[in-house]
Symmetry: C2
Subunit: 208 residues, 2 copies
C-alpha cells in the first residue's frame, strides 16, 4: 500500500508568483496534484468545471460547509470560495501529494484544521518588488495596489507561523526549494512506517 500523500499549503501575498512557481515545479516533478477549489462565482471564458474550479450554486456550497466538507472557505467580492475535504482525503489516501495554492486567510484555516498540512509561505524578494510586480501586471488601480501592498506587509509578518519560508527571487530556485521540501517531508518517520516494518520483517523471515 502506498504511504499517504503529503498535503502542502502554498500561500503568500497576492503577486508573489505562486502560479508560476507551480508551473515550474511541474517541470521538476509529476507526483503532485493541485487541489481544485469550489466557488459560487460563474465560470469565466475558457474555465472548465472540475479543472479550474468546481462551480457550485450558493446552496450547494453552503451544504458542503454545513456538512463539514470544507477544509477552509471564505468570501471574496460577494462570491464563496472553498477547499472540499472529501476528494482531498481520497487523493491523499491514494498516496498522491496535494498542493493547496491558497490565500493567507484560507491557509490559516487549513493550518488550524489539519495537523498534517505542511505549510510553505512564499516571500517576494521585497515588498517593494512585489508592488512593482503588481503595477507591471496592470490589473489594479493605484489605490488597489497601495491596499494590496499594505495587506502584503501584514501577511509577510505572518510568515513565521508557517513550517517553511521560501523566497521567489529566482523562479527555478524557488521551485527547486519546494521540490526539496516535498522530498524531505516524504522521508519523515510518519511516512516511513511501512519501510520500518519491511526492514524488520525481512529479519524475522531470516531468523526462522
Amino acid at each position: 500500500m502506498a504511504s499517504r500523500g503529503i498535503l502542502i499549503v502554498l500561500s503568500g501575498p497576492s503577486g508573489t508568483g505562486k502560479d508560476s512557481i507551480l508551473k515550474e515545479l511541474r517541470n521538476l516533478r509529476n507526483d503532485f496534484e493541485i487541489s481544485v477549489s469550489c466557488t459560487t462565482r460563474g465560470p469565466r471564458s475558457g474555465e472548465v468545471n472540475g479543472k479550474d474550479y468546481y462551480f457550485l450554486t450558493k446552496s450547494e456550497f453552503m451544504d458542503k460547509v454545513d456538512s463539514g466538507d470544507m477544509l477552509e472557505w471564505a468570501t471574496f467580492c460577494g462570491n464563496y470560495y472553498g477547499t472540499p475535504k472529501h476528494e482531498l482525503e481520497n487523493r491523499l489516501n491514494e498516496g498522491l501529494n496535494i498542493i493547496l495554492e491558497i490565500e493567507v486567510k484560507g491557509a490559516e484555516q487549513v493550518m488550524k484544521n489539519s495537523s498534517e498540512a505542511v505549510s510553505i509561505f512564499v516571500l517576494p524578494p521585497s515588498v517593494q518588488i512585489l508592488k512593482q510586480r503588481l503595477k507591471n501586471r496592470g490589473l489594479d488601480s493605484d489605490e488597489a495596489i497601495e491596499m494590496r501592498t499594505r495587506e502584503a506587509e501584514r501577511e509577510v509578518a505572518l510568515a513565521k507561523n508557517y513550517d517553511y519560508v521560501v523566497v521567489n527571487d529566482n523562479l527555478k530556485e524557488c521551485a527547486n526549494d519546494i521540490s526539496k521540501i516535498i522530498d524531505s517531508e516524504k522521508l519523515r518517520a510518519i511516512h516511513r512506517k511501512n519501510i520500518i516494518k519491511e526492514v524488520l520483517n525481512n529479519e524475522s523471515v531470516v531468523s526462522r
Copy 2:
C-alpha cells in the same frame, strides 16, 4: 548575522554505514562539521586529539558531566563517551551545521535534551543485510554478531521516534536524501526570521 546552524543527529544500528554516508555527504556539500566526541579511552594509533576525539581523563570527563556540559554521555566497555555542549553551541551560533553521528541510546538523550535537534535514523535495507555486513566486516565473533543483530532489531523499532528515516540501500542516494533534509530544514520558518525582516524593511524604506 548568519542564521543559527542546524544540529543533526544521525543514528541507527551499528553496521548501517553511518561513517560512509558522511564521507559521501562531504562530496555533496561542505557546510557541515561532524561533532567531535569526548572519550576517556586512550587514543589508538593514528588518532588525533581534537579531530578523532577529545581524549580526557575520567576526572576531566566527569567534571564536564557535573557542570552540565555533556549533551549526552554513556559508558561502553568501561570507557566514557560524550558530546560536549559548549563547543557545539559556539559552532551553531556561527551558522555552521553540525552532525552528531551517534549510537541510538545517545541519540535518545540528545532528542530529549535538545528541542532543536533534527534527528535522522539510518535503516539498513533489511536486518538480514545488516547481519551480512557485520559478518563481512570480520570484526565480531558469531556470538557478537547475533547479539548485535538482535540489538539492531530493537533499535530499528525505535526509528519511528525520529524526525526522518533514510535507508542506506544505495550510498549516494542515502547521502543525497540527507542533503535534501539539510536544505529543507534550512528553509524552516525558524531559520528565516532575518529574511522575513529584510523583506519587510525594504518596503519600509520604499514607503518613505
